[in-house]
């Protein structure tokens, strides 16, 4: 009631004093609704949870009374339950190194797009429960991204393929080996002429060796590779510039000026975790703060890289080529003053100046979606700016055989069309879903006589293959893989296969020499054969322990520029709009469709969950009279797609971004019926950028769910976000403290009493300059703390359960706003407003300053969340934790309570990790050392933006950062005295552009 009253008052006040259409240009806004001052947003602002969160849906008075009566009658009954007897099941032979109740850690690696990231997996009595980055691995440095964190859920996914299938019917592995062997025999005479292998990107030395063996045996057989997120343009660009396909490596830690041309190197590059770390090295808070790099980004759709840029220019993807040529011309790298684009002339010349003033300390990086010519041009620019060899180096690729994957698949499809494929073995991937639409892969696949497909789920491709083999999850099988820099890791399993799965190694081995060996033997034998000297055992165990094989990173390669394009390709100026294709930020190319954690993870910029949408610019939406959720028909190259739109601030005006991966027909319970299949529009001629598309409003609408306006706090008046420029900070280091509103200490009814925190005093600092908004913390927290998935409808009702959310704030015009990310966990206030209102003492303070939530006391009044100014408390409105799914149980962290319906929960500062460290320390009669343990969000953060520790330990990093000039408290004026504080965001804009 009071909420409504307050809202009413506020709305009246606003009516009598109407706000200008565009508010203070310096003010932050969370969504376009807020910018236009809509009533929906105001409602959200005034409530503990978003509207609808606390309502019961369609409910009348009669039903309410019925339920109320039943509740009263039954309330006493649960107290009568006696705890059932439990069983204790000891080992027969207990492994020597295992201590029951203590987790063990093993090094392994996960590949995405072929490239490996080293991981450390935590295992409780034989089941893996959490993945962390391997600090010794160059692609990880201890951090991971959202996909690595969510991989554990895929392992325990109850919808995984569980049995070998022959034409959809259950079969056995032995039957398959027999069948493939028969199919094999017919190939002997043809030298394998009708044999084809299709894989995804391969970096595994063992798999490569096995394929080589196969090709040696059958010289006419062919090996194809295809992934929808491929690096064809990068390969062709390098070939164009250097005459050979070399891999470029960027050293962001050495760069001062970075120009990104449609590249999302902070998030979707194969080496993004490492790059994010290197990039933020020159941005995060230090003592003293003496330098900062500067990032310029030109892109068509807002990415994390653009959001973190000091200057961002939204232009359509096709226009980027022109701008790149204009820049090259400005820098004198090419002598063709053919600059047609006068609109951005100034921008380009300022960037050109900045780059040429920092010769050898700049980077020009191009995204995989830009054509090869732009890549070649970037090589030229880096070369002429003296960056090559310093901030940009070159090596051979870590890929076993870097092919142009689109061409590779085209060749396969042509062979299929000509009926010359007898046996097609597909190891992983899902080409029926992901192949370019013009290949008509499904239709042509049926022309092969004998098809085998291995996959984690029975997917679109498996459905039309003769044989389906369940794929072993990487935590179930032995393998090896190389990181982007070539470092080789052994992929070590943590658990025996849960189902009748096989790895790619086992399938190939069964084909080569039936009945085949298991993958441990295959991988081990291969590495044994590679080991020239003796002492294999020692080096093998060392590699397993360290998670990488020493000195396997690729040596630097000298390259010389052969040629470069001199003027932009003449674009046949088609009318209509541009469409660009992107991999989805949370479900990648569609492979994580059945992963609830990733589905529910709000996408970094627009915070959409459970769906993809066509991202259109505010001006295009206005022109076409579109609003969020309107379904449009997009027609491109005579293909049509109906898709809902999302108006995206910062999207280039005439460009529509289409994230692919959604709209799958065959996947488990989680991913079915989510989103739209963008692959239907993606063709081999325009895999990333399509021109001349038409957009038509259909009049239908579709419910899209975003968390962007959930848990909003009035940012304008209350200084939630503090930021400034690097130059301003140099001149006025105390600018944050100066204009911070401080609390009125006397405004309290209680007797002011200081509690001495003599023992440990936990606290956290979040550096907004370092945070890139990648969401890894959100999902690491979910994995660590058994946070449930609730589904699209529940998210729509505003009940999302994440304990740490990453808010993003915009500032400036919606056409090209500045973006600031702010991770918000529980603040652990010393004067916590939630504690004083709990009628049952379920939220209490402990002697180390933690604001703790006691689930077994909580009766669900929700007074605490009502009183929390930070809106960080989450309530189990329904029974969200899935006790009934047996396969999830071994995944849960045994050190954290699984919550039940009707209790409140929130961030605990990873209390289980604190307890573990405290007990270990007390048993050894010492204090916890600084840095001895990390919270889950801190550990995963690729940019070390989250720092946690003991504020009483003066040598701890967190205690030092608390004294930094940029340190500020969110809503500190309320005298809540939060333990979590923020370091104001610094940007480093070019003065020549900011005026």
């Amino acid at each position: 009631m009071t909420d409504d009253l307050r809202l009413q008052k506020d709305l009246e006040r606003r009516k009598s004093n109407p706000q200008p259409a565009i508010r203070n240009p310096q003010s932050f806004w969370r969504s376009l609704e807020e910018l236009s001052g809509s009533e929906k947003f105001q409602k959200s602002l005034h409530r503990e949870f978003p509207p609808n969160a606390s309502e019961f849906g369609n409910f009348n008075r009669r039903n309410f009374l019925k339920i109320l009566g039943a509740t009263v009658a039954l309330a006493g009954l649960p107290a009568c339950t006696k705890q059932p007897l439990q069983k204790l099941v000891p080992y027969v032979h207990q492994p020597e190194e295992l201590v029951p109740g203590k987790p063990m850690h093993f090094a392994t690696a996960m590949t995405l797009g072929g490239f490996a990231t080293g991981l450390i997996a935590e295992s409780h009595e034989g089941h893996p429960t959490k993945l962390e980055g391997n600090p010794g691995h160059p692609a990880s440095l201890g951090a991971t991204n959202v996909f690595h964190q969510a991989a554990i859920l895929d392992l325990y996914d109850p919808d995984r393929s569980q049995a070998v299938l022959e034409n959809g019917d259950p079969a056995t592995w032995e039957e398959f080996v027999g069948a493939i062997h028969d199919a094999w025999q017919s190939q002997q005479s043809k030298n394998g002429g009708g044999l084809r292998i299709l894989t995804e990107t391969v970096t595994s030395p063992t798999l490569h060796f096995q394929i080589q063996q196969l090709l040696k045996k059958f010289p006419q057989a062919k090996w194809h590779q295809y992934e929808p997120v491929n690096r064809d343009n990068i390969r062709e660009g390098a070939k164009l510039a250097f005459g050979e396909s070399v891999e470029s490596h960027y050293h962001f830690d050495k760069a001062k000026i970075i120009l990104s041309l449609d590249s999302d190197f902070l998030y979707s590059h194969p080496n993004a975790v490492r790059y994010a770390n290197d990039f933020s090295e020159k941005r995060r808070a230090k003592f003293p703060q003496t330098e900062m790099n500067r990032l310029y980004a030109i892109e068509s759709t807002p990415t994390l890289t653009g959001a973190n840029a000091d200057h961002r220019l939204p232009v359509s993807s096709a226009e980027i080529e022109n701008l790149a040529f204009a820049l090259a011309e400005k820098l004198g790298a090419i002598s063709k003053p053919e600059s047609g684009n006068s609109k951005h002339q100034n921008w380009i010349s300022v960037v050109a100046d900045d780059l040429s003033q920092h010769r050898g300390a700049g980077i020009v990086i191009v995204g995989e979606n830009q054509p090869a010519r732009v890549h070649a041009l970037a090589h030229l620019l880096n070369h002429s700016l003296g960056n090559s060899g310093r901030t940009v180096t070159f090596t051979e690729s870590a890929q076993a055989n870097w092919a142009n994957q689109t061409e590779s698949l085209r060749e396969l499809v042509n062979d299929l069309r000509q009926n010359s494929v007898d046996v097609l073995v597909m190891l992983g991937g899902n080409p029926v879903f992901t192949a370019p639409a013009d290949f008509q892969f499904a239709k042509n696949l049926r022309k092969a006589k004998f098809t085998v497909h291995q996959a984690l789920h029975v997917n679109e491709t498996s459905k039309i293959c003769d044989w389906h083999i369940p794929e072993n999850h990487f935590l179930e099988s032995w393998s090896d893989a190389r990181a982007f820099d070539g470092t080789t890791s052994i992929v070590q399993p943590l658990i025996l296969p849960l189902y009748a799965g096989k790895s790619a190694h086992e399938i190939l081995d069964a084909m080569l020499s039936p009945p085949g060996r298991d993958d441990y033997e295959i991988v081990r034998e291969f590495w044994k054969s590679q080991n020239s000297g003796d002492g294999f055992e020692g080096s093998w165990h060392r590699a397993l322990h360290d998670g990488l094989i020493e000195s396997t990173s690729l040596p630097e390669k000298k390259v010389s520029l052969k040629q470069f394009p001199t003027d932009p390709e003449k674009q046949n100026s088609k009318s209509g709009i541009e469409i660009t294709f992107r991999s989805d930020p949370t479900i990648y190319d569609g492979r994580f469709m059945n992963n609830g954690w990733l589905q529910e993870l709000p996408k970094p910029i627009n915070k959409l969950t459970w769906d993809n949408a066509a991202l259109v610019s505010p001006s295009l939406a206005k022109r076409e009279n579109l609003s969020n959720g309107d379904v449009v028909e997009i027609e491109s190259e005579n293909r049509k797609l109906e898709i809902a739109i999302w108006v995206t601030p910062g999207q280039a005006e005439n460009s529509v971004a289409l994230p692919f991966g959604y709209g799958r027909k065959s996947i488990g319970r989680v991913g079915v019926r989510a989103g739209f299949n963008v692959y239907e529009l993606r063709t081999s001629s325009s895999p990333w950028i399509g021109n001349g598309a038409k957009l038509k409003k259909t009049g239908k609408t579709y419910q899209l769910v975003t968390t962007q306006i959930h848990h909003v706090i009035d940012s304008d008046e209350r200084q939630i976000i503090r930021e400034g420029t690097f130059d301003h900070f140099q001149k006025e280091p105390d600018f944050v403290a100066k204009d911070s509103a401080s609390p009125v200490e006397s405004d309290t009814l209680f007797e002011p009493k200081e509690f001495p925190y003599n023992g440990y005093k936990w606290g956290m600092v979040i550096d907004l300059s370092a945070c890139i908004g990648c969401n890894a913390c959100t999902i690491a927290c979910q994995a660590e703390n058994n946070i449930p998935v609730i589904g699209k409808e529940q998210v729509a009702a505003g009940r999302i359960m994440h304990w740490i959310r990453v808010d993003n704030y915009f500032r400036g015009p919606p056409e090209n706003p500045q973006t600031t990310f702010q991770p918000v966990p529980c603040m652990h206030c010393e004067n916590a407003p939630c504690e004083v209102v709990c009628p049952v003492g379920a939220t209490m303070h402990d002697s180390e300053g933690l604001n703790v939530q006691v689930y077994n006391r909580c009766i669900g009044t929700r007074y605490c969340s009502n009183n929390c100014p930070y809106k960080v408390r989450r309530f189990n409105f329904l029974q969200y934790a899935q006790y009934d799914v047996a396969s999830y149980r071994p995944m849960w962290n045994p050190d954290v309570t699984v919550r039940w319906r009707g209790v409140m929960e929130k961030c605990t500062y990873c209390l289980q990790r604190i307890s573990e460290a405290r007990i270990t320390a007390e048993n050894q009669n010492r204090r916890i050392r600084a840095g001895e343990f990390q919270t889950a969000c801190q550990q995963v953060c690729p940019t070390s933006a989250i720092v946690f520790g003991d504020l009483n330990a003066t040598d701890s990093r967190v205690a030092k950062l608390k004294t930094h000039e940029l340190n500020y408290l969110m809503l500190g004026q309320l005298n809540t005295r939060p333990r979590t504080s923020y370091l104001a965001k610094l940007r480093n804009p070019n003065p020549k552009l900011s005026s």
């Binding site: 705890q83 000891p90 032979h93 203590k102 402990d846 933690l850 703790v852 050190d895 954290v896 007390e922």
Partner: protein
């Protein structure tokens, strides 16, 4: 108009009022008694096991140390239940034909795990750690009772929160010297004085011990 109620109705009404109070009290009393009775707490009820393992025989009779079987009690939250292999170190030589031990031999031969009925356990939202208690002088006997006198094992205490808190608030009433932790028959005449001394020596922060976060997370 005649009286509806007779005179004695008054007495019935008064008696009724008293009866309501007494009855409510009695129901409450019974509920309370049931709640604290072994039926609910499972205290003092020997738990049947597939193999009738006797702590009395192994601890009192043979003098085995607790840690021979419960190997992780000093290292981990969980004290550890011995694997079949541990049983067979002796029972492959002695009593190796006994029908009572047939399930153990079968477990070893077929590589199937033995299943024991759990005697002591806390709810899922309580996180008890053995190692820290053992290291700070809480004896086995303090919580588990006189195991050397249990032919079949039973729960000696309720393990209710109030019972835990008694020690967490007044550890001096229970702590013992570290080298007497595994001694089931250690006694002292001056527990409180020794306890206070030990609490200081073990560096136990008694105030912190009753924080919710000590056991609930």
């Amino acid at each position: 108009m005649a009286q509806i109620f007779r005179r004695r109705s008054n007495s019935f009404a008064r008696a009724g009022l008293v009866a309501i109070v007494l009855l409510t009290g009695a129901i409450g009393g019974i509920a309370y008694a049931v709640y604290w009775s072994p039926w609910e707490t499972r205290q003092m009820i020997p738990i049947p096991q597939t193999v009738p393992f006797s702590h009395e025989h192994h601890v009192y009779g043979l003098g085995l140390d607790c840690r021979y079987c419960h190997t992780s009690v000093e290292k981990s939250a969980f004290a550890g239940i011995p694997p079949t292999e541990t049983c067979m170190t002796c029972h492959s030589h002695i009593w190796n034909k006994s029908p009572m031990l047939a399930p153990v031999r079968r477990s070893m031969a077929d590589h199937t795990r033995l299943q024991w009925n759990r005697v002591n356990f806390t709810p899922d939202f309580v996180f008890f750690n053995h190692s820290v208690h053992v290291k700070h002088g809480v004896g086995c006997v303090t919580c588990h009772g006189q195991l050397d006198q249990m032919p079949l094992t039973w729960k000696s205490h309720t393990l209710f929160m109030r019972w835990c808190l008694d020690c967490h608030r007044h550890p001096e009433k229970y702590v013992r010297p570290e080298n007497e932790v595994f001694n089931l028959n250690w006694t002292t005449t001056n527990q409180l004085a020794l306890g206070r001394e030990l609490v200081k020596q073990y560096n136990i922060h008694t105030k912190q011990l009753s924080d919710c976060s000590m056991c609930h997370r």
